[in-house]
């Protein structure tokens, strides 16, 4: 008889999520914690991830564990990353800490696509990066990089 053991994951802001063990094991970090944790590893803290992000990560893991060969997996992934850049950054960071390669690659690729075809100013605007160079610093940087023509 297969036991459907569940694990509770606790986010940084105290939100708890009960998930099937098989789904939780999609995160190699959790897998490692369970394997080395001993008997009382039913609640696992994930302090690097907030509740909102953790909920989305679990949604991803569920789909990929429960229906890995389904025809609509690709369209699920495409729709999954149709989110704001801030959410994407949180997902990338969470999947990095939780060691979920598929999600890390998916979010990294989507973020990379947001860089393409944009000018420096447009990139700053998209990601809210503040230009803290002084005009002199910027000039010096361009001079230093005159060999590469990319800057």
């Amino acid at each position: 008889m297969t036991s459907s053991k569940t694990i509770v994951l606790r986010s940084s802001d105290g939100a708890t999520f009960e998930v099937d063990e098989a789904v939780a094991l999609h995160s190699l970090m959790i897998k490692h914690r369970i394997e080395t944790g001993g008997a009382d590893s039913t609640t696992i803290d994930v302090p690097e991830v907030t509740g909102n992000t953790l909920s989305k990560v679990i949604e991803y893991c569920k789909k990929h564990v429960e229906a890995p060969n389904s025809d609509d997996l690709k369209s699920f992934d495409t729709d999954f990353v149709k989110v704001d850049q801030a959410v994407l950054c949180h997902l990338a960071k969470a999947s990095y800490y939780m060691n979920i390669k598929g999600l890390l690659d998916l979010s990294s690729k989507t973020i990379a696509d947001m860089f393409k075809g944009k000018t420096v100013e447009q990139i700053r605007e998209t990601f809210h990066i503040k230009n803290d160079f002084t005009p002199e610093e910027e000039e010096e940087l361009r001079k230093e990089n005159s060999w590469n023509l990319f800057v």
């Binding site: 990294s108 990379a112 860089f115 393409k116 230009n131 160079f133 590469n148 990319f150 800057v151």
Partner: protein, 399 residues
């Protein structure tokens, strides 16, 4: 009095600016992400864009120094020529770029012929940076000569060498971690090289005017092969090849899933054709036979036997040529169920043999979802019509 207070208040409100609270949606999350994640993102950008991020902000100045995948392809050189124009400078730009890189470099792609000395130095640099995946390709006339240093990069997992010159030093013991090897226009004796790469899963030898030579029993030593593509012109000219040899090869590659065999107008010899090869090849899923003359009896019966011996074959693609004229005796075949889902037959003439093969495929493939039949472009319309009529009259097992 009241007026002064009012005036003061107005002045205060005008000059005092409350600190602008950054709305949560406007916070910069990307700059503070872990280095590994930022590197993962920058690795996916064209190099010029990745280096260009150094001007975004102070914190971004050196993030690109952790790039671990470098692709110098047509896009990159196009960008350089647009910006610089001077083609002599490219080697210098790439060299200086490499100087700035701090971390491991696992993938390097170069698709342009630059001078051998530069490339040699880059390979030396990469050999110390844990290079695993290397592509050197160009369509110039003189091949890249791979330096001795290349052969001591024991961490290689993937190699694509197009138009290079592979001459290992006598001390070369092989690439123990190599998983995939793709060669194009490589002229030397390849057998000695490939047998020293025992983990190889993918071996693709492209057909070209210059081909390296191997022996079938050298390929047979690569027990981990999953994908194999080569042409009969790659085999040593002293060898003659029969169906039996091909089955022998398949038998020694238990994990093979994909086989592309380019007959290159070759006619299989009769030796061993009558010997029935007892084994089946359950792992083979895709079979491509290129430039095979189906009007030749040996070739045709080899094709039939292959289809019959691979019960899990899902995809079949045949590019036919026609050298011999009809008629020749059509081999007797038992009808076995196949698992074929997709079949593509290109450049057919509509000959009896070809129709015979199609008849077999139709009758034995209940799972067939798609079959594409392209006749020779030189077939006259009348002949095409006759061909089509013959096909429509064949019985089909699938829906």
């Amino acid at each position: 009095m009241i007026n002064i207070f009012l005036l003061l208040r107005v002045i205060m409100e005008v000059t005092y600016k409350a600190p602008k609270l950054i709305a949560p949606e406007e916070e910069d999350f990307i700059t503070t992400m872990p280095d590994d994640v930022v590197t993962n993102i920058l690795d996916r950008l064209p190099i010029q864009d990745a280096v260009g991020t150094s001007i975004l902000a102070r914190n971004w100045r050196f993030k690109w120094n952790m790039l671990s995948q470098l692709v110098f392809d047509d896009d990159f050189f196009h960008y350089l020529s647009y910006k610089a124009g001077d083609t002599n400078n490219y080697g210098c730009i790439i060299s200086r770029l490499l100087f700035h890189l701090n971390g491991a470099i696992t993938r390097f792609v170069l698709r342009r012929k630059l001078d051998d000395e530069n490339v040699s130095h880059w390979i030396l640099f990469l050999s110390r940076k844990g290079i695993k995946d290397l592509t050197l390709a160009h369509d110039g006339i003189t091949p890249f000569k791979l330096p001795t240093r290349f052969f001591s990069c024991l961490e290689f997992k993937h190699l694509k060498l197009y138009n290079c010159c592979l001459s290992p030093p006598p001390t070369f013991l092989g690439f123990p971690n190599l998983l995939s090897l793709q060669l194009f226009r490589e002229n030397s004796e390849l057998g000695e090289f490939i047998i020293r790469c025992p983990l190889l899963e993918i071996l693709i030898l492209y057909d070209s005017d210059k081909v390296g030579k191997v022996k079938l029993d050298e390929i047979a030593q690569l027990k981990n092969l999953k994908i194999l593509s080569f042409s009969l012109s790659h085999l040593n000219t002293t060898m003659t090849v029969s169906s039996y040899n091909i089955f022998e090869l398949l038998d020694s590659l238990p994990k093979l899933q994909v086989l592309h065999l380019n007959f290159k107008d070759y006619k299989l010899t009769k030796g061993g054709a009558k010997k029935r090869f007892p084994a089946a090849f359950p792992s083979l899923k895709a079979l491509k036979l290129y430039r095979i003359d189906l009007c030749n009896g040996e070739n045709l019966s080899c094709a039939f036997e292959l289809i019959k011996s691979c019960p899990n074959l899902q995809t079949l693609e045949i590019l036919a040529i026609q050298q011999e004229a009809d008629p020749i005796p059509i081999p007797e075949v038992e009808y076995n169920i196949t698992g074929l889902k997709s079949v593509e037959l290109i450049n057919l003439k509509g000959s009896e043999n070809e129709v015979h093969l199609i008849k077999y495929l139709f009758a034995c493939s209940p799972l067939l979802k798609m079959i594409v039949i392209r006749p020779r472009y030189s077939l006259a319309p009348g002949e095409q019509l006759m061909f089509a009529r013959k096909l429509l009259m064949l019985r089909r097992a699938s829906a």
